[in-house]
Amino acid sequence: MLYAVLCYNSEEAVFSWTAEQDAKVMADLMGVQQRWAHKLGPTARLMPTTAATTLRKGEPPLVIDGPFAETKEQLLGFYTINCEDLEEVLTFCKELGAVNPGGAYEVRPLHFFNNGALPADAVSPRVAESA
């Protein structure tokens, strides 16, 4: 079964990490990803919600600065992963959580998945080496 793992955390706290703390967390997360590499699909870290824009559908559609939802913890990234069952995804989440304090992971099974054809180096300012 394919799942999305949506990463929520307080971005104010995350963006208060020092560069060293941030680098450490990212390196540790990369370690977890490497262990699960054979099961992982596209993975992303999102820019802060201050960079977000929301299009509210309607006639005409309304473009609003900022994230869709004002929440205490923000959607800061996501994984896609192919797992046997929920237990296995939760194991993955626990490993992530052990190196990335605070916040929560939301596990959502996928209805539809398209891996796309976008070459990774065409998009991202920082691309994982062994995605």
Binding site: E12, A13, T50, A51, G102, P125
Partner: protein, 419 residues
Amino acid sequence: MSDLAWIDAAITSARPQAVGALLRYFRDLDTAEEAFQEACLRALRNWPQKGPPRDPAAWLIMVGRNAALDGKRKSSRQTELPPEDQISDVEDVETPMAERLDGAHYRDDILRLMFICCHPDLPATQQIALALRIVSGLTVRQIARVFLVGEAAMEQRITRAKARIAKAEVAFEAPGPVERSERVAAVAHMVYLVFTEGYTAGWETAQARAPLCDEAIRLARLLLRLFQTEPEIMGLTALLLLQNSRAAARFDAEGAAVLLDDQDRSLWDREAIGEGLALMDKAVRHQRPGPYQVQAAIAALHARAETAADTDWAGIEQLYGALEVMTPSPVITLNRAVAVSKARGPAEALAMIEPLEAPLAGYFYWHGARGAFLLQLDRKAEAREAFDRAIAMANTAAEAAHIRGQIDRLTADAAKAAS
């Protein structure tokens, strides 16, 4: 990350909101800071055992407020409030508190806290020191290290600045729209000052002051989160991110300043550039340009150029032209002249800056740019003279070293020509 590091980050990020709210309750900065301090001490005792609360800011506000009220009650022999380890578990106590915080106060509390640091009577360095102490929560020792002064001297400076703002009338009712936008503008400028204090440092001080740049970016993001639709705040945040993206390339191994043209662009921070460009994209949609947006647009043109030769100097010249109209200043004209020299040659650029001698005769960059234009025009003797004057006005050793390099090259050329 250890528990303590996480708690530290949670407290740091909750600080502006918590101290801002406590300031509104107690209407006195010292009381608010002491209450927050007490709450932090209790958080350090309580959170590692009980786990962090869902809303650290709400927890700190409630515990801080209770602690301060408790202190007052004790002194008047009244009953104590419940201890904080009971509070943190009780969802139904925390939830309405958190909901109240989400209301109208949140934004104005933080804005007020930032705004009191911008008192016009305070010189820029004191505004910066105060903001770092009150809003960012840096210790006096950390701030002293940033400014390369002794701890006692910095303590005195901050105490004096606080005394000054204590005497000033701070409005505690919610500001009207005009006053709010004035406050936002003043705070944006203060954040910009924090950044430039870190960014204009020479290499010797750059290490010590780099945290100022990071802190300014954090404050700019905070301000933008409060005022999501303000294009100038998007511009400010983008400007700081784009400037700071070059930090790793600005000095060579010996500590000499590396000019933009000569920087190793592979050292530029692509994530910061990406975020800066994304914010500019958002800002442009508003079609309400302002000085921060224009400066960010200039930085964006540099960031987009893969090599120095790819730089869109004509575009940069236009943007400096726009900036000149918004905020006329000889320094901006000087910057436009540098773009002109790249786009259309040194003769026109030199003609632009010659009339600026009166206002800029004491300005390092005017002499430096004039020397560079003269050198490009092969007027070596005059260039030498201009560089000599520049070196006398250098603010940092790195600036002096850069001009020294130019002079050395001139001298070497002259020696070669003579032999």
